[in-house]
């Protein structure tokens, strides 16, 4: 590795990478793993003998599949600590579960939890590397890294890019990590949302705020749409989904306000017809599937960064054949 000074032990949130240099390291590593992913046998023995455990307290199909594919392409062994059918349901504490997994000789634990901070707590209790795969409203650092990578891939650099993040910022771990990553990389960020969907305080956030999407759209290089969750209606944060779509949705008409080269991004899963019109999601400017594709390579880079030899050199392709279909290419 080059750039960052201290070795990265855990990835709980973007600042763990130590700023722009650390994020740039991940980007460069990702370049190598994108190349690996394009080989006929997209598999290298970089993490052979290492074991990665999934500890998902919250349902996730996409993020887990992405991590699992990444680990397998690095030849790591994986195991799933199934929360819904395990001791956790019988009342086992977070501490005991973490200690139990570690006692099995695990090198990394990938955690998703509905409670903000749960991965931080686990990181304080175990020696294994902890990767945050999303905690409550707080952080989703690998999503932010794949978002950075996708923008960099399409625009060359994040520096000077104007990115609008639109929608339910208040409850979004993606938005929090994206703001930290985008601004660390020199992008300018505008949050666009009704006041009820903004965090209660933006003190210390290096962002601009707008409640008028139409005004912001012509000025941006990237418009990043967040998933609008139906349960927000019952909390009286919005009058109706229809009104949200009318004011903050990227409709067929509204997308015309974007510059020709502006990108449309979304962390998925999309609510077509709510925050994004069905046709808009399928426009050439929409890089939503690139995000998914890059997610695998970014997560390979993160796993390699935390568990690898630290030489920064990606080993040659293994002769071991791939063991599964690549969902990112499906």
């Amino acid at each position: 590795m080059s750039g960052s000074s201290d070795p990265v032990r855990h990835l709980l949130d973007i600042p763990d990478l130590g700023g722009a240099a650390g994020i740039e390291d991940v980007m460069r590593l990702t370049d190598s793993f994108v190349e690996v992913s394009e080989r006929s046998i997209p598999r290298v023995p970089a993490l052979r003998g290492k074991t990665v455990a999934w500890l998902f307290y919250e349902d996730s199909t996409r993020t887990r599949l992405s991590f699992e594919t990444a680990a397998k392409r690095l030849s790591a062994d994986t195991m799933n600590f199934s929360v819904s059918s395990s001791s956790v349901k019988k009342g086992e504490s977070l501490l005991d579960t973490a200690k139990t997994i570690e006692a099995m000789g695990i090198d990394a634990i990938v955690v998703r939890h509905a409670s903000a901070g749960a991965p931080h707590r686990i990181a304080g209790w175990v020696d294994a590397a902890v990767i945050n795969a999303g905690d409550g409203w707080h952080a989703h650092p690998t999503q932010a890294l794949l978002d950075c990578y996708t923008i960099r891939q399409n625009r060359g650099d994040l520096r000077g890019q104007h990115i609008a993040i639109v929608g339910d910022i208040k409850h979004s771990r993606v938005a929090r990590s994206d703001v930290l990553a985008f601004t660390a990389m020199g992008a300018e960020v505008t949050l666009v949302a009704p006041p009820t969907l903004l965090p209660p305080s933006l003190e210390g956030w290096p962002v601009k705020v707008s409640h008028d999407l139409d005004q912001v759209l012509p000025t941006v290089d990237v418009v990043y749409l967040l998933r609008m969750q139906r349960e927000r209606m019952s909390e009286a944060l919005l009058p109706s989904l229809r009104e949200y779509t009318a004011t903050f949705g990227l409709t067929n008409r509204r997308v015309e306000r974007l510059r020709d080269d502006a990108l449309v991004m979304h962390p998925g899963p999309m609510n077509r017809g709510v925050e994004i019109a069905a046709e808009v999601a399928d426009l050439p400017r929409s890089v939503i599937l690139d995000q998914v594709r890059n997610g695998v390579a970014v997560r390979m880079a993160v796993l390699y960064l935390l568990l690898g030899s630290g030489t920064g050199l990606v080993p040659p392709p293994s002769t071991v054949p791939p063991t599964e279909e690549d969902p990112a290419r499906a």
Partner: protein, 427 residues
């Protein structure tokens, strides 16, 4: 009480509501027999370099019994209290079952009878602390309950609180409120602001406390009821109470030690040791609470001692219960963190709360011949390091673990009996 050996507390400086002076104190048969110079007795307790003060009184203690004996019992809580210099504590009613009937009041008082600290209890304002039906306040008052509260929750309904205040005036008792508008807090777990926004933890706005302070001041004006405001945590709450006292309303207020020593920035560790209700707030709020203690808007320092087992504090922040230990650290925190005359600090910890909970005839009294010997002898220069594991409590959830504090209890006398000698609990 049987004839006991006389004890002299030698070489200390007396601090009580009447002032400060250097004198020896002789205790016989549970009472102060003499105050003067060069006194002798059967037994001597060294108080050289120490303050000799009336025993401390905690107006806000969670003893967890009945219902959560794995976290604390009346006995362990009372022992921690004695070690902290307290000779009287007031149990909060949020037990299981709640202290909302004469039967549970009797049970708690019975459990406290053999404890190394006088245990008094509050009673709930409403049945089950559910805010829907008045609890039998007269029956509880007949057993000596002088302060009623649904602590842990505020009485949400304006109409219910008005009726409770009216009813209380007929009994001559005080109502105490945990000020928090539940709907506005909407599942919050820390102070709503800069840190909650960054950490992604749902917040409790300061206004949720302030609205209820405002309402209860209005209702106190309407009914004439004596109202005590628990654990004030925001600058505007303090200002409202200050104005109300100046306007002559019959109100009092307390601040906890954590609300004048810690801010919401502590929550960045995601450690539920820092989760408490009302939540830790901003540095400005901390400064306002200190200012309130200084100018008398807040006359009482309370612990809100809230033991929780280690398992529950190992849950994620939003799932862990709120509360922190306080009995063994309150005095030292006050002496270390408050830049106030020592007499004012002891007053806020002793005779002021004794008055509010109606035990001023036995606790917090001046150190004078004939008065009950409920005393605490404090070495104000002793430094020590906080260790939750070394505390008498069944729980260890102190947010001050490892912190060095100044001021330590050397001896505590309960009705003349030395229950703590040289910092060691005697029973």
């Amino acid at each position: 009480m049987p004839e006991t050996a006389s004890i002299v507390i030698k070489g200390g400086r007396i601090v009580d509501a009447t002032g400060e002076r250097t004198a020896d104190v002789v205790v016989v048969d549970g009472r102060i027999a003499a105050v003067g110079t060069d006194l002798d007795a059967d037994r001597t307790l060294d108080a050289e370099g120490c303050l000799v003060a009336p025993g401390l009184v905690d107006i806000h203690t969670h003893l967890r019994e009945p219902g959560k004996e794995e976290a604390e019992t009346v006995e362990t809580g009372a022992r921690g209290a004695a070690l902290g210099g307290y000779t009287a504590i007031l149990a909060m009613p949020n037990t299981t079952p709640a202290i909302d009937s004469a039967g549970v009041v009797q049970q708690v008082l019975e459990l406290g009878r053999s404890a190394p600290c006088d245990v008094f209890t509050s009673g709930a304002i409403t049945v089950g602390r559910a805010g829907e039906q008045l609890a039998p306040m007269a029956e509880m008052a007949a057993l000596g309950v002088r302060l009623f509260t649904d602590d842990g929750a505020g009485v949400q309904s304006n109409a219910m609180m008005r009726r409770a205040m009216e009813y209380a005036t007929g009994l001559g008792v005080t109502l105490a409120q945990h000020c928090e508008d539940d709907a506005l807090c909407g599942g919050g777990h820390m102070h709503e602001g800069e840190w909650s926004a960054r950490l992604g933890i749902p917040g409790q706005p300061a206004e949720a406390e302030e609205l209820m302070v405002m309402r209860d001041l209005a209702l106190a004006r309407l009914t004439g009821c004596r109202v005590h405001f628990q654990h004030l945590s925001t600058a505007r709450s303090v200002a409202m109470i200050r104005d109300a006292i100046a306007a002559g309303l019959p109100v009092t207020a307390e601040a906890t030690t954590h609300h004048f020593t810690l801010t919401h920035a502590e929550c960045a560790s995601y450690d539920p040791l820092y989760k408490v209700n009302p939540p830790l707030r901003t540095a400005d709020d901390v400064a306002a609470v200190k200012a309130g203690l200084a100018d008398g808007a807040i006359g009482i320092i309370a612990t809100d001692h809230a033991p929780h087992t280690a398992e529950t504090k190992e849950l994620p922040f939003d799932q862990a219960p709120p509360g922190m230990l306080g009995l063994e650290t309150a005095l030292a925190l006050a002496l270390t963190e408050l830049d106030l005359p020592v007499q004012q600090i002891i007053g806020a910890l002793s005779w002021n709360p004794a008055q509010v909970i109606g035990i001023g005839d036995t606790h917090g009294l001046p150190i004078a011949e004939g008065n009950p010997a409920n005393l605490c002898i404090i070495d104000p220069e002793a430094t020590w390091t906080v260790d939750g594991r070394a505390m008498a409590s069944r729980s260890h959830n102190t947010p001050y673990q490892g912190r060095e504090l100044k001021g330590r209890v050397r001896h505590t006398l309960l009705h003349g009996e030395p229950v703590v000698i040289s910092g060691e609990a005697q029973r």
